[in-house]
């Protein structure tokens, strides 16, 4: 070979080597290949130190996402309580968070938080974005060390569990998946780390309806499929405790319903289930119990039913002699404000209003007891603790009725 041919050959071989065929995706930390749909431009420059430097510009267009397989049916809820008793996991475990504080530098993410979660219920862990939900869950899972206080599952710290997936199944971030690995291998790796066999991996894939896409790389999955894969991983060892962070984020209504039914079925079997969310309306339909936090502090620890009953309520009255009735109602001690086509009355029940109207012979066309929506009740509770709430609104917010013993400061910037 002449020197020229040698140099050309060397550059060509080097250029089609490692450097060009695989681009390290620095942002996501993985090697990715140029598919047929991608392109790359390689510029080879000699640098002052005598070597060659490659400048690579490229674009990789990944294939279309895998189509979502249909959701499997969720089993019916056990009809009778004794049926649930039979399926109760051997070792129900409660979650106890005691005076937990977690600071990141000068920011206090969780502030002296205490609560207990009992087995057999779906507990909603609720709070605005940045309230400290995820931090609390991470401390519970031993991923972050608490600044002070304890977070125990079944009376023990998470790090003390041998093969912890047999005790606690968790889903923190459904999008945290290895994009280049097939779903099957991802689940298999998680299973192997806790001594779980391939048979069970197949079972959870079937349970979440993912068996037909198990060979697909997780990077091709839609958000809903990623959520289902995360749930499959959490259910691998059939644990008595399940912790899900925002499990319905980004799901379609069918997917939300599927998760809701699944969680209820699991809770009916005596498991301890915690799901966090910043959406009250979703929690109202799924959770039996609510733990509401804001700015890292406990705002409420009550059952969903009680929370709903504590929400503001008023009565809408429609009457042809509205002005006359308003005067009578005010005299009887109610607060009345005119509304479209009627009066909004607080301080008197529908029965008392009806009686009053009958006594004075005033016809009433409509008498409707209205509950504030859960969303409104939730906003009332958390409004004062929302970081970015405007200063003028906070003092006027009807106040935090469900707060057991925990004062909520005028948390306004």
């Amino acid at each position: 070979m002449t020197p020229t041919i040698l140099v050309v050959a060397l550059v060509a071989v080097a250029a089609i080597s490692f450097d060009v065929f695989c681009l390290i995706d620095v942002k996501r930390g993985r090697v990715r290949y140029l598919s047929k749909r991608g392109w790359a431009l390689v510029i080879c420059v000699s640098n002052p130190w005598g070597g060659l430097a490659y400048l690579i510009f490229g674009k990789d267009r990944s294939g279309p996402p895998a189509p979502a397989p249909p959701l499997p049916d969720v089993p019916e809820l056990p009809a009778a309580p004794h049926a649930a008793q039979r399926r109760r996991p051997a070792d129900p475990m409660a979650i106890e968070v005691n005076r937990l504080t977690k600071r990141f530098g000068s920011v206090t993410a969780v502030d002296d938080l205490s609560f207990t979660v009992r087995p057999g219920t779906v507990t909603g862990f609720l709070g605005p974005n940045g309230a400290g939900k995820t931090t609390t869950l991470r401390v519970l899972l031993g991923l972050e060390a608490p600044t002070s206080g304890t977070a125990l599952i079944g009376g023990r710290r998470y790090q003390e569990f041998v093969r912890p997936l047999h005790r606690v199944g968790s889903l923190l971030d459904a999008t945290a998946l290895p994009a280049g690995r097939a779903a099957w291998f991802h689940l298999l790796a998680v299973a192997q780390s806790n001594g779980i066999g391939e048979r069970r991996v197949r079972e959870v894939l079937e349970l979440t309806g993912l068996e037909s896409v198990a060979a697909r790389r997780t990077g091709e999955f839609s958000l809903g499929m990623k959520q289902r894969l995360g749930i499959a991983a959490a259910l691998l060892a059939d644990p008595p405790v399940l912790l899900f962070d925002e499990p319905v984020n980004g799901l379609d209504p069918e997917g939300i319903r599927w998760i809701r039914l699944l969680l209820k079925a699991m809770a009916a079997e005596g498991r301890t289930i915690v799901i966090s969310s910043h959406l009250m309306s979703e929690m109202a339909q799924t959770a039996d119990h609510l733990i509401v936090i804001g700015r890292g502090r406990l705002l409420a620890d009550i059952s969903t039913a009680e929370f709903m009953s504590r929400a503001r309520q008023d009565v809408l009255v429609q009457s042809p002699r509205a002005a006359e009735l308003a005067g009578l109602l005010t005299a009887a001690g109610a607060a009345v404000s005119p509304e479209d086509g009627g009066l909004a009355v607080t301080g008197l029940g529908a029965g008392a209003i009806g009686d009053l109207a009958a006594t004075y012979g005033i016809a009433v066309h409509q008498l409707i007891t209205r509950h504030a929506s859960l969303e409104e009740a939730y906003l009332d509770l958390t409004g004062a603790s929302t970081d970015y709430r405007a200063a003028t609104q906070a003092p006027g917010v009807p106040g935090t009725p469900g707060t057991p013993g925990t004062p909520v400061g005028t948390a306004v910037r």
Binding site: L6, A9, L10, V13, A14, S17, F18, F21, C22, I24, V26, K27, R28, G29, R30, V31, Y33, D73, P75, P78, R87, P89, A90, R138, L141, G142, L143, A145, F161, R163, P164, L165, H166, L172, D173, A176, L177, P178, G180, R181, F185, L188, A189, Q192, S193, N194, G195, I196, G197, R199, R200, E203, V204, E206, L207, L236, A237, D238, P239, A265
Partner: protein, 283 residues
């Protein structure tokens, strides 16, 4: 799926749950984590392709280098710098060691980048066990690949040199040791890469740091004034590697056995640092 089917699924899950009651031995737990990390390593298509391309390119360039060496006059410019043995591993050092080091860095940084590391540490809360398993699996894979490629590069080069200068055979003194050591160099760099990835967490920074340790540091040492370039440089990975693979290493380097110690000390120190920071940091 009917209720009965879920019960079946749940019932099957109850078996491993029951086995968890009896605490598995340390050996069983170690085997679990090793199996998990091995599955992760082998299930990435990109790893396989990168290795295949790197192997082909290494062999191709080893041929080119051997041809060039054979064409140069014996004892001439090239002969003074490179010896017949070390020439076998010139392409190996660049086109196999560097890609494998980068892949090793990604073992941790890819999990940090995607957030998968939380799943990993939730499944295995003992973080040193995860570090040990990743280092062991990656190091073992690199050792196997390194030995295969080292022998391939050696035989290829010596076959080409046979015509001109007379090739070496494994029977020649120090040759077998050098070829085995060349394979070990790949494992040492891979384990260093894994540990650096665990320490730095971000892909770009970790790759830069790992390539500095595996390659650039030696280049920087060469720029130092005369006696100091080797006095300091001999403690870097490339010099130590050259020392153990050369038949006649230049004066000023450590003894081959001390250089082997240097090759062990780098990954060991990096692993130690990684073990300390992993336990102290939040994930």
């Amino acid at each position: 799926m009917s209720a009965a089917q879920l019960q079946v699924a749940g019932g099957a899950g109850a078996a491993p749950a029951a086995s968890a009651q009896s605490v598995p031995s340390r050996l069983v737990r170690a085997r679990d984590v090793l199996a998990c990390e091995w599955t992760k390593l082998r299930s990435l298509r990109s790893n396989r392709w990168t290795l295949a391309v790197a192997a082909v390119v290494t062999l191709a360039l080893t041929t080119v280098v051997a041809q060039a060496f054979a064409a140069s006059p014996a004892g001439g410019k090239h002969g003074a710098v490179m010896d017949r043995l070390a020439t076998s591993f010139l392409a190996y050092a660049e086109y196999l060691v560097l890609p494998v080091t980068v892949l090793s860095v990604l073992v941790f940084t890819s999990e940090y980048g995607s957030g998968l590391i939380r799943t990993t540490f939730t499944a295995v809360p003992r973080r040193q066990a995860v570090l040990a398993a990743k280092a062991a699996v990656t190091g073992a894979a690199a050792l196997v690949i390194g030995e295969i490629m080292a022998f391939a590069c050696f035989f290829l080069t010596q076959a080409i040199l046979t015509g001109r200068h007379g090739g070496l055979s494994l029977a020649d003194p120090g040759t077998l040791r050098a070829v085995l050591a060349a394979g070990f160099v790949l494992a040492a760099c891979a384990v260093t890469g894994v540990a650096v990835g665990a320490i730095i967490r971000h892909t770009a920074g970790a790759i830069a740091a790992a390539l500095t340790a595996v390659c650039l540091l030696a280049v920087l040492c060469l720029a130092l004034p005369a006696p100091w370039n080797l006095r300091i440089g001999r403690f870097t990975l490339p010099f130590a590697a050259y020392d153990v693979v050369a038949a006649h290493p230049p004066a000023g380097l450590l003894s081959p056995w001390l250089s082997l110690l240097v090759l062990i000390a780098w990954p060991a120190a990096a692993l130690l640092a990684a073990a300390v920071v992993l336990t102290r940091r939040d994930v």
